[in-house]
Amino acid sequence: MTELTELGVKAIRDGVAAGDFTAREVAEAHNTAVAAGGALNAFIVTTPDHALAAAEKVDAARAAGKQLGAMAGVPIGMKDLFATQGVQTTAASHILEGFTPEYESTVSQNLWSAGAGMLGKLNLDQFAMGSSNETSYFGNVISPWRHKDGGNADLAPGGSSGGSSAVVAARIAPAATGTDTGGSIRQPAAFTGICGIKPTYGRCSRWGVVAFASSLDQAGPMARSVEDCAIMLGAMAGFDPKDSTSLDLPVPEWEANLSADLRGKKVGVPKEYRMEGTDPEILDSWERGKEWLRDAGAEVVDISLPHTKYALPAYYIIAPAEASSNLARYDGVRYGLRELPDGAGLQDMYAATRAAGFGDEVKRRILIGTYVLSAGFYDAYYNQAQRVRTLIARDFEKAWAQCDVILAPTTPTAAFALGDKMDDPLAMYLNDVFAVPASLAGLPAMSVPAMLNGNGLPLGLQLIGKAFDEQGVLNAGLAIQQRAAFDAQPEKWW
């Protein structure tokens, strides 16, 4: 029998349902892999008992002849941005260290209700702010991938969902939750050779997810195949009356409607994504992607998204603006860290608590956000950025007259070494350049692995779809997956 940790979501679910192995066996195998994977620093806390308890419930349900959920018997990693009842939830910050919620986020609850179990809470960039998982209070996550030249430099697993990408790529978890504000699912998926989809804004409830930028934050699955993403997204999504921005729409049967037959479909290729400084190998992967989609029956057409170059600056105004307000609640008054120097008054306590509790990148974004919302600057920055956001959404609207789905690179480069960009925030922010437009427009977008570069590192291709058309994205992703036949794995060194 294949190692259970080699199996994906679909294979585990079907194998458990068929009685090929028990959910408990699956949970134990993954718990063992979690315990052995400490060198990756992917987990902030591990929860082997949670995984076992969920598995036992599934095994009991199966024994009783009950119908099993869409994720029955699948142990997953939970990004530590989702509130989990009774399990520490930190957003990888010191300010929330030790915070144990008395409530369960809607998305995680949906997953448990579908029969999934939790292996642990995954490390991430602090408050999901970062593209390399280097801003976590709990240390860097190290990518399971290494350069094939034998260089031992630790590589970035991407961010902010870096714990998620690392464990899925390393076969420690078959799947993990991610959240994507400006690429935080797609970029780490691309860096680690796995799939990840950010659905249409509003598909997955934000209730119980520690907020970064409310108008952009969206949860989604990260797994090793398009099918697994379709299954897991189906379990995560759904209308939630507790989230005013939740989409009141039925969840489509994504898994059942998967089809790699793209005849009659048009794939748009935006000329503005051919940016200076993009790695030639990335451009090469893009060319291959076009070929694969043509091979699947699609027609590839050139399109223009003229405001693309304004997306990144607009994003880095809107997201910090919202974050500066969203993070005001971490003040030392009610929960989390409280720093109370001798003789401190209320303002002193705020200052000391927030100075000690937030990392540099979080502070940087709070400062930027506070600045762009200030009297006298609001119109020039925040309002202007919102106008740009409208124009970017309009670019996509116009594009849909010409195509059904858009193909683009996910990132401008392959994974970089940890430490490479930490001194240069702008270079770091540039990593999100291809990811951010779809976030600003609230569109579904996915990264699927395409190939390895000359250094033996994975490169991802991005598919962006119309609002609510996750199916179109998944289907195009499936067509690429079938033709790319990406089966590379990181060599185990941990």
């Binding site: 915070f99 307000s325 209320l346 609001y378």
Partner: protein
């Protein structure tokens, strides 16, 4: 025009007043959470995860709060904005868990409207005056800090945190403390009619931020100060009096008024500076990304409109024009919801019993409601049980009085017993002998005795001393122990005295 002026050393000054009234919306749950809004609960027992701003919590608007604010807007004939939006007002304070208040700055729910304050000569309001309302928006209340629980720490009670408030912003249309007082009272009346706020200022359900500036009559507006959280009509008026005088004195002494936020001290009737414009917060308002814009559809607006009761001005007009009441009676009867509700119930019951139209019974019921009944109640004090003052009992008394069965004095006596005991008026009249005699035979006999005993006075009367008629009436009433129907006595006396 108000003639209210501050007499300064250098001449007259006019006061310009605008009010921002914060009214707590009557609803069971808070604006964005399901927590209860009941007053007086133990600290921190009415706090949801949302109110405490736990990580990942999201606001969901409470439809009833929006509905009440829309109905309030309709009651002051304001523009209702079908599209409005919530903004965040960012600042740090321990009573504000989110670190921002969800409010509406850029696109309020309710736009321009107005209300009318009534002429009140005594108060220096010579005629009715329309006061503009610039807007009404909805927002969250904050929690409460308690500084007296611990020697070195402050405690926070989040029960009020997140409760829905309407902020009702007037135009700077008021020119005297009396006008401001009348505005707050009128607004309170309207809110209570609509049922959107209980108007209870002691419990903090209504409080006002008072904007005051002074100027030479007819000149440009002066610099204003804003005195926060004034919680009674009297204090609003005191704030204005104090602020206007302070500003005039300041200017006349060569100083300038500073735009600032001030606090009212009820113990001294004075205000003091809280913070000046220079240290004013930059609230960094921006649209709340957790909430979609509020869009109101026709059905919702129609329901809001259809559910509005008859409003104070309309009711008052109807009392005068249709029920024939005096302006004064109409004004008093319509000032409070409880008053008109009692009046209308009693009027309906009395008209039914008398077989009259409400119009024909209205004046009698108004007089009873406004002078007779309160007089009896007040005289009894604690002995009276107001629960016994049912519409049925009072209508029964009025019915007996109208039929001539009892006199006005007997009506009061019967009502007194009703208030003390809850007994039936008819039974009281019977048992206690509180009935008038209308039996002409018996009264005639008494009159004859009176006339016989006072033959000299009869002569004088017949000789032209008309005033003695009252004497004969009095003697007859005395002889019948006050039980004779005065109308019958008058009639018979007139006939006999020729």
């Amino acid at each position: 025009m108000s003639s209210y002026r501050i007499q300064g050393a250098t001449g007259e000054w006019e006061v310009v007043i605008g009010l921002e009234v914060h009214a707590q919306v009557t609803s069971n749950a808070k604006l964005f959470s399901g927590a209860s809004t009941e007053f007086g609960a133990e600290p921190n027992t009415q706090v949801s995860l949302i109110d405490a701003a736990m990580p990942g919590m999201l606001p969901v608007p409470n439809r009833e709060c929006i509905r009440q604010a829309v109905r309030t807007g309709m009651a002051i004939e304001a523009v209702i904005n079908r599209w409005s939006r919530f903004d965040r007002k960012n600042y740090f304070y321990a009573d504000l868990p989110q670190g921002y208040q969800i409010s509406q700055l850029y696109h309020p729910l309710v736009g321009e409207g107005s209300l009318t304050i009534e002429a009140d000569e005594k108060a220096g309001i010579p005629q009715d005056k329309v006061i503009g309302v610039e807007r009404i928006h909805v927002e969250q209340d904050a929690g409460k800090l308690m500084h007296d629980q611990h020697p070195t720490m402050s405690y926070v009670d989040l029960n009020r945190c997140g409760v829905a408030l309407m902020e009702i912003v007037s135009r700077p249309d008021m020119r005297s403390p009396a006008e401001a007082g009348a505005y707050v009272r009128k607004l309170r009346t309207i809110l209570r009619y609509v049922g959107s706020c209980d108007g209870n200022m002691e419990e903090g359900s209504m409080r006002a931020d008072v904007n005051v500036s002074v100027r030479r009559p007819g000149e440009e507006l002066g610099i204003r100060t804003e005195t926060k959280n004034v919680n009674s009509v009297r204090f609003v008026m005191q704030t204005i009096e104090y602020e206007a005088r302070r500003q005039v004195d300041l200017i006349e002494d060569g100083g300038t008024v500073v735009q600032e936020t001030r606090l009212f001290d009820p113990n001294t009737g004075t205000t003091r500076s809280m913070r000046s414009k220079e240290d004013a917060h930059d609230y960094r308002y921006f649209p709340d990304p957790d909430l979609l814009p509020l869009e109101l559809d026709d059905a919702f607006l129609e329901e809001c409109r259809a559910s509005l009761p008859e409003l104070p001005d309309a009711k008052r007009r109807r009392y005068v024009e249709e029920l024939g009441l005096s302006d004064y009676n109409a004004a008093v009867l319509t000032a409070e919801v409880e008053t008109f509700a009692r009046f209308e119930t009693l009027l309906a019951e009395t008209a039914k019993r008398l077989g009259k139209s409400e119009k024909d019974a209205a004046t009698q019921v108004a007089n009873w409601s406004l002078s007779v009944a309160p007089g009896v109640m007040n005289a009894l004090g604690d002995e009276a049980n107001p629960a016994h003052a049912t519409a049925e009992a009072q209508a029964a008394i009025l019915q007996m009085q109208t039929a001539g069965e009892i006199s006005g004095g007997q009506a009061k006596e019967i009502f007194e017993i009703v208030l003390k005991t809850g007994r039936e008026p008819a039974e009281i009249a019977e048992t206690e002998g509180l009935k008038q005699q209308s039996d002409t035979g018996a009264i005639e006999a008494e009159i004859d005795k009176v006339l016989a005993a006072n033959a000299d006075k009869v002569e004088e009367y017949r000789g032209g001393k008309d005033k003695l008629f009252g004497f004969f009436v009095g003697q007859t009433m005395k002889a019948t122990q006050g039980k004779a129907n005065p109308a019958v006595v008058n009639e018979l006396l007139k006939a006999k005295l020729g």
